[in-house]
Each structure stands twice: as structure tokens, then as C-alpha cells.
Amino acid sequence: MDPENLRYTQEHEWLLVEGAIGTVGITHHAQEELGDIVYVDLPRAGTQLTQANPLGSVESVKAVSEIYAPVSGEVLEINAALADAPQKLNEDPYGAGWLVKLKLTEPAQADSLMSAAEYQAYVGAEK
């Protein structure tokens, strides 16, 4: 269920690396844990993010949850459609529910993240 071509964090974010560009989202497991998502707070384009520091937050009916940057980088673009349609995070976390695109400043950081198989084992052990 978690795409093979992505890298994953222990905080349940995913990262897609395409050259020097990284796309970030939250995992299927994360959206399931959160439940009905009502607000998404994202940084402005141009913001410098540092790996493992807060990137923004996602708020569901039951709770608020911080999102952390899987890697360091500069925000190039945010998914503006989420402002009016936050439910996309529940419906399509690996597609239409993406959060931000980053220009990677330290691309090697991606290697430290989990593979899909490692992430599935991690989620399985957490349960």
C-alpha cells in the first residue's frame, strides 16, 4: 500500500526524490490515525526547512498533529488546493494530498529514511 519509490520517516511523512526536488506528504497510516482532516497549515514558499524540524500541522476532528521535514530544503511550492479541500489528505495521501515541494539542500539525508518495507515493519511493530 505504501509506494515502493518513496522514503519514509518515523513521524509518518513520506518523501519522493526527483533529482534535486523532493515532494513531501503524510502516509496512509498517518491519515488513518488522524481521521477526518479539517485544516492543513503549510509554510510559505521560500521558507528554509531543517530536517526533523516542524514543517506545518494537520488538524483533524479529534486532534492537531505536527508535520516534520523529512529532509532539509527550501519550500518551492505548497499544495494550495488543500486549503479548500483538506479531505484530499484522507482520500489520496500519496497523490492529490501531497503537502510541499522542496529544493533539497542536503540530498544525502534521504538515504537515512526508511524504505517502504522498513516503514511497513515499523508501523506493524508500533501497533
Partner: protein, 367 residues
């Protein structure tokens, strides 16, 4: 995090797991927070029928010739005024007027009262009642003898009626009767914690799984779904029903919590009465009031509330309202300002967000 093995479970635990429910630690109990989703379950209760496992709730029975006297001595409402087969909402208080718990009192017979109490408070409640028992009455901790299933929504009666020979239309709101449900002896109460019409049935634990399945099967034609504690919370908040640990606790009195209607000061002596009489004379300094967010943001439990740019109170419960499509909540404010129409600010993650106090309940079902 508490390991799952140390959490208490209800007789329906395996059913929740099999249904794929998301489970949470609720006051030491491993309980389903949601199945299909909080909003979906919430709407199911408002428009069809939802089925909840509330077996974690505790039961305490008071029996004996002076059962009514003890019930009245430890609760705020007038227990002995209940008719046989009638129930009411009430408070168990400490001497200083704060809540031990909020409870439902059912009068089964002149010498028998049946209390439904909060899961996390049940042992504390039992000890509290026993400690004040200076009457010819016995207090029994009865929780192990009961599982409880709540059937809530406009089609709750039609659902349950398929399973019982008892004429449910004859049971008035906040009345109850003992009868068979799918062939099993049950206490059938016309009560609930959702603001919707519905019933709560108290059944033997070893029959709980079968009855749960029977109820869902009976309700299938009306769109019945299993519902978790997440929807139970948003439903009770819309109906402005208190949740222990949020609107009320040991530091809060019923007069502050806008629950003066469950306090009968003229019924005679009871634990906490003197403190309430004094508080009433002096006037309460803080009071519970409802609010709606005016700007983007949700005022959640524990968030600070500002009046005139200064801290003045706190949020006790807050959530998006699936019925009203607004972000609603309850908060404590200085009593002089705790009326509808008061502009306030709620500090949401260090940012003040505009809100306004409103009349409650937020939702009232059409009768």
C-alpha cells in the same frame, strides 16, 4: 504509552478489533475511537442509527430499606422523588462541592437504586458512596454483571423494537424497564449521551457479542453502523452534555458547570450541600458557556481564553461540529461575562483567534 496488555477491555473487544476499529486508551480502557470515521458515524447517529459499546461504564447498586435515603445523601438531584422505572441525571459531590462524578440514577424499586457511572471513576465512586453509608442500605459494585450497548438515532426505537416484545413507544424519555432483548434479560433505558433519541441497554457480559450483532443486523435496513467514542464526544458536545475531566471535575461545582438543575437544595442534607449553599449566596465566580469560532481555528481542551486581551478562562471541550459545520466548544469565563454574545479570543498554538460566546445547546433534535 501504556502497553495494550495493561488496559482494561470490554466483552466486545474482539468485535472492535475484527471490525478494524481504531482503538485508544480511554481512561485505562482499550476502546474504539472510530470505525468508519468520526464525521460519518456522527451523521449516522443524527440521521439513522448508531450502535456504541459503552460497557466500560460502571454500575453501582444501592439496596435496602434506606436505599433511597443513601441515594439522596450522596447525590445532588432528588432521588426519592423518582417514580419506579424513572431515571435522572445527577451529581456525586465532595464535601467542598466539587464533582466526584456525574451519574445516572435509576429507581428500580423503593428499596433499589441502580447507578450508571463513568468508567474511570467507578471504583472511586463506589468507595465514596460506601464511606457515606450511615443508613440501612447495601452498596454493591455491579459493573462485572453488565455490558452496556447504546442504540442512538432517529431509527433507534425501530431497530430495538425488532428485538424485544417490550413496547418501546410506552417508555418515556428518561424512563426504563426490564425486558428481553433477543431473548436475553436486559435493562432497557430510554436514555443517551448524544442529544438524539435512543436507548441504552444493560445486558449480561456473556451475551454482549451476540446482542451487538443482533442490534446491528436489526438496524441494517435503517443504515445502522457501529460508532466509537470519537463520535460520542462530538455528539455530546453539540448537545452540551458534560464530560468528566473536561467540563466537570473535583475542582468544579454543579453551579459553575451550569448544572443547577440537578441540584435540589431543598431536599434535605446531602454531601456537598453546605458548600453549594454558600456558593449560591456569594454567587459563583466562573461559569461554563458555549462558544463558536469566528475565524479559522479550533479551540481545544485546555486552550486559554482571553477577554479584553487578558487571560480569563479555559476551553473544556472544543471540536468541529459535524452537524453545524462550525467549530464549537465550551469554556469557563468569569460569571459576569459568561453570557451569549461576548466576544472572546482563544489562544490556538500561541495565536489569539476570535470567537464569540453563544446560547447552548448547539444542537437540539426536533421532537
Amino acid at each position: 504509552m501504556t502497553s495494550a496488555s495493561s488496559l482494561r477491555t470490554t466483552p466486545l473487544h474482539s468485535v472492535h478489533r475484527a471490525l478494524g476499529a481504531r482503538m485508544v486508551d480511554f481512561g485505562g480502557w482499550d476502546m474504539p475511537v472510530q470505525y468508519s470515521g468520526i464525521v460519518d458515524e456522527h451523521r449516522t447517529v443524527r440521521s439513522a442509527v448508531g450502535v456504541f459499546d459503552v460497557s466500560h461504564m460502571g454500575e453501582i447498586e444501592i439496596r435496602g430499606p434506606e436505599a433511597g435515603k443513601l441515594a439522596d445523601f450522596v447525590t445532588t438531584n432528588h432521588a426519592q422523588k423518582l417514580k419506579i422505572g424513572q431515571a435522572h441525571y445527577s451529581g456525586l459531590l465532595y464535601q467542598h462541592g466539587g464533582f466526584v462524578d456525574d451519574i445516572l440514577v435509576h429507581k428500580v424499586a423503593d428499596d433499589r437504586y441502580f447507578l450508571c457511572v463513568n468508567a474511570a471513576n467507578q471504583e472511586k465512586d463506589f468507595e465514596h458512596i460506601r464511606a457515606h453509608n450511615r443508613f440501612q442500605a447495601e452498596v454493591e459494585f455491579s459493573s462485572p454483571r453488565y455490558a452496556q450497548i447504546a442504540i442512538q438515532g432517529p431509527f433507534a426505537r425501530a431497530t430495538l423494537q425488532k428485538l424485544t416484545p417490550v413496547d418501546l413507544a410506552a417508555i418515556r424519555y428518561y424512563w426504563f424497564t426490564d425486558g428481553a432483548v433477543a431473548g436475553t434479560p436486559a435493562r432497557i433505558a430510554h436514555t443517551g449521551y448524544t442529544g438524539e433519541d435512543g436507548f441504552e441497554i444493560y445486558v449480561p457480559p456473556d451475551e454482549a457479542v451476540r446482542l451487538w450483532n443482533e442490534v446491528l443486523r436489526a438496524g441494517a435496513e435503517f443504515g445502522a453502523k457501529p460508532c466509537g467514542l470519537g463520535a460520542r464526544n462530538t455528539l455530546r458536545l453539540e448537545a452540551k452534555m458534560a464530560l468528566y475531566g473536561h467540563e466537570i471535575d473535583a475542582s468544579i461545582s454543579p453551579l459553575e458547570a451550569d448544572l443547577a438543575w440537578i441540584v435540589k437544595l431543598d431536599k434535605g442534607e446531602f454531601v456537598g450541600r453546605d458548600a453549594l449553599v454558600k456558593q449560591k449566596e456569594r454567587g459563583v465566580t466562573r461559569k461554563l458557556v458555549g462558544f463558536e469560532m469566528c475565524a479559522r481555528g479550533i479551540g481545544r481542551d485546555g486552550y486559554e481564553v482571553h477577554l479584553d486581551s487578558a487571560p480569563a478562562g479555559w476551553v473544556t471541550s472544543g471540536s468541529p461540529s459535524p452537524t453545524l459545520h462550525k467549530n464549537i466548544g465550551l469554556c469557563y469565563l468569569p460569571a459576569s461575562r459568561a453570557h451569549a454574545g461576548q466576544p472572546i479570543q482563544i489562544i490556538v498554538r500561541n495565536q489569539p483567534v476570535d470567537a464569540v460566546t453563544v446560547e447552548t445547546p448547539f444542537y437540539k433534535r426536533a421532537k
